[in-house]
Symmetry: C2
Subunit: 261 residues, 2 copies
């Protein structure tokens, strides 16, 4: 759990809370075997210094937990070998990108003001695409170009439709929200739709999560690919996250195999 | 998974996605026994008509998944007996409340513009208090008054410190983020701090969750108290949420019982 680095510490209670957070000692462990990936992709290589930028694409109707789950996951990662300060140890830097800086409304109507547009966003190393209503040519082009430079791209839930629209999933496996399997397969016949999955590694750098909370599992899996099982496990522990879907091969505990899906 | 009711349907793909979502048929089941509550509180009574307003208190540093988890949970609840339209079936209505309508920055820096202030917020039936930096007298007074009118109040993670500041937890059990147990007990000796819990029912209408993702479990538990086990189970299924911490008595699967906590 991380509060804003550099934000004003206006409350006495917060000092105490932050002190208590320091009790969590994160030790960078030996990288565990890369279980869970069904491809032969190399482990993701983190930069020796500097942040890992994580761009969250948000437009009208962005589904709350689709982005909030990975946001929390990435920001909670602490890599103690990066330096003594909490700011150094929080290696992932999340921000929001959209067509404009006009406020968008999430599912349920929360008002979020994007940090950047597709014109001025810093280069990300990871792009997160939640389910959303927007799918502008600018967005799709930005995803294509960012992916082409070898950055990681992950969709959550019906965000896979945006990713499929880019053509990047053609000929590759992918998953989606459980009621969308059929529609995804119908609309994008070149995509190999996999059912009952928390996440699927589509290419060495492109990943698709199942619905909603499964984005947390995919984010934890990507953390593991960068920093190993121990750091990912400590992140899950920090989040008090009890789901196990990020371990193993991405198979879902709850099977969505009813005939209508 | 709900997109914004009434929001413009600008994308052809969204029509297909929304159609696929309609495949999920939610049947209101027989209320199951009220397991999980350790108090003798009556089941929560939903209104026959109209929405259940859920106010999310947000100030600077609000921790993302603390509010996003319950937000997603409440908005995903569908009660089919309420009418044929999805808008009727989505009974919970979430909105944000703060000291002012100036944008706040969540943990990690996302910019959110509050919908209401403590002066003009609609009366909620549920108040959600995530961990955050703000604890203004206005906020605390608003929590006290809202609770006094019999509405449900739930804290998530270190949001329990705000709730404890109101005095409403004096003499009652409560839980918190796992590194904050000691600080909470030290600062509020009248609170009975419980460890290793996903959630604790503090009074008939006041609840406290553990850290971060455990807010989802508490929200699901509150959904169950209103609408029974089957509706809550269907909500978890809609969310593809695999955590089991909302079932049973709120005990955590992962025990945070190290000496330092």
């Amino acid at each position: 759990m991380a509060f804003l680095p550099g934000s004003p510490d206006t409350s006495g209670i917060m000092k105490k809370i932050q002190a208590s957070l320091l009790v969590v000692v994160v030790l960078e462990g030996v990288d565990s075997a890369q279980q869970g990936s069904r491809s032969s992709a190399a482990k993701l290589v983190p930069p020796a210094t500097g942040k890992i930028n994580v761009a969250f694409i948000l437009t009208e109707g962005s589904v709350m937990i689709d982005f909030a789950g990975p946001w929390e996951t990435f920001q909670d990662v602490m890599v103690s070998s990066r330096g003594p300060k909490m700011e150094d140890q929080h290696v992932f830097h999340p921000y929001t990108v959209s067509d404009s800086k006009n406020p968008i409304h999430t599912s349920g109507g929360m008002q979020i003001t994007p940090d950047y547009t597709f014109e001025d966003a810093p280069e990300p190393m990871i792009v997160v695409i939640p389910a959303q209503m927007g799918d502008s040519p600018k967005m799709l082009d930005w995803i294509r170009k960012t992916a082409a430079r070898g950055n990681v791209v992950m969709s959550v839930c019906n965000g896979v439709f945006n990713l499929a629209e880019t053509g990047l999933l053609d000929g590759h496996p992918a998953t989606s929200y459980h009621t969308s399997y059929q529609t995804l397969q119908h609309d994008f016949p070149k995509v190999q739709v996999e059912r009952g999955r928390r996440w699927v590694q589509s290419t060495p750098t492109i990943f698709t999560a199942g619905g909603l909370s499964s984005g947390i599992d995919l984010a934890l899996h990507i953390v593991e690919l960068y920093y190993g099982r121990d750091i990912a496990q400590e992140t899950a522990r920090t989040m008090e996250y009890e789901g196990q879907g990020w371990l193993g091969d991405g198979s879902a505990l709850v099977k969505y195999s009813r005939a209508q899906y």
